[in-house]
Symmetry: C3
Subunit: 208 residues, 3 copies
């Protein structure tokens, strides 16, 4: 193994950018799911699964690269941690899509569209931030905005559950349970994006 | 930036003490919530929100200080981690208060008072432990007691859920779901206090 | 304290092996629970509690040893982290057993046996992997297999919940809620085993 430092480093940043780009793709399928007829849901879920596999591939490529690189742009553990935090975002968006199909959920509450819009914005911000890991500059705007969005997601989530429990979607307990699961998985995805931002913040703090 | 090491360090400890003191205040509002009439709940929740904002301010002040300090009393990442673990305790107690209002929960099961009592005790112990970070002495009693309390909270929590499921609060599934959410949030708060104790323990192990 | 490096190190590996062996024992009680009559459940839960106490003892022994050792085979924090990750697996299997008794759950869905089988396999793989920490060799097979099993557990879990929600176990919301709690605790146990594997992986990456 040689000492071609710059290309080595570059490719880590490229891999993180690729990994985050899958999140943007995933959030698009999630958005499609909202407006889809019941009959279209299976094909959207199948497309989501492909994106999730691609994302898995990106994660494994980062891990393999860490394990085989002599020099890494920042701590091995942090590269590891960031790769796996990005992967969690994908897993949770994929799980939400999967649950909608599996639980044969009927109509989705209007607030779910707000949750998904936040996830789309978080995906874009995350994808835009990854290339800035190279200079470690202008990252604070990213994590501040993600934190703000997560707080907003939290509010939406609590109000959604309150609506479900207080009869906005009827009084069938099992219907409410199913919707609750979907809404919770989307909230978990927003939390996962916040964890990515925390990871980036802690890397930036360490390297600065 | 100068090298006034001691004042610099002192103020980190002071900030952690302030951060933990908000937890004591928060746990007091939570306790008030238990005995409150439905009509008083909104004003308690409003007061809780203010405390939560103050706690957020403390967290941000710690983060800003880490980022601008040349010398820190222990690892930057650990200061970060501890500040955010303290913040999680506040968020979860605040969430519990918020859910009681949002879900228009009626009477609370008696076991909830036991959960809240444990959280009050955990808040006090945490606030008392923060100044001891300076000497890193006499901290083991703190984390051992927090672990013990968390085990106790865990028992209370499981028995509470068992009671809910086995009809102690009637058989209305939606009422049970609402109470379950509140009870789970309080349990998550107890877990968050344990994470603070684990963080303190791992800092002490590292620095010793 | 002397410098008897090798025995010192050995005993850390032995302690991790002992800790993981409790998981194998625990998973056996969990398996017994599935086939047990309602009347036998209490004694299985009592036996599980003893195993959980033994596991707690092992964890504390590791922590004490870390705190009193001059030389440790790998980072103190990582020893700490791994010990507590192993402990979490035990806690969650114990919780699942406890919930079955506490909630007075009736028959368990067939899919629960698949969940428990995965946990048994994970316990064995984890126990087999611990002695390999000494050489840090041949560990990748272990964590790859754990990841594969966790993905499988995830699929089982989602399908189980879908079955519950879609009427496989009748339409009584409270029965469904009870079973959901048990199924979720078992899924959390599988996640906990994956966290152990992640911890081992990150230690191996660091030490390599």
């Amino acid at each position: 193994m040689g000492f071609r430092l710059t290309p080595q480093e570059n490719s880590f940043y490229d891999l993180f950018a690729t990994s985050a780009s899958h999140l943007v793709e995933g959030s698009r399928e999630l958005t499609k799911m909202l407006g889809a007829d019941i009959g279209e849901r299976d094909s959207i879920a199948a497309r989501m699964r492909e994106i999730e596999h691609d994302a898995d591939e990106s994660t494994h490529e980062i891990i393999r690269k860490v394990n085989s690189s002599f020099i890494t742009p920042f701590d091995r553990e942090d590269i590891h941690g960031l790769a796996s935090a990005l992967d969690d975002c994908m897993d949770m968006m994929d799980a939400a899509v999967d649950l909608i199909v599996l639980y044969r959920v009927g109509d989705l509450p209007a607030g779910v569209a707000d949750q998904v819009e936040v996830l789309s914005r978080m995906s874009e911000l995350t994808a835009e931030a990854m290339p800035r890991l190279r200079s470690m500059k202008d990252l604070s705007e990213y994590w501040i905005e993600i934190n703000r969005l997560e707080n907003q997601a939290d509010q939406t989530y609590r109000r959604l559950l309150a609506g479900l429990f207080n009869g906005d979607f009827g009084s069938d307990a099992i219907t409410i349970m199913k919707l609750k699961e979907v809404v919770e998985e989307l909230e978990a995805a927003a939390d996962a994006f916040e964890k990515v931002a925390h990871k980036v913040e802690s890397i930036a703090v360490k390297e600065s």
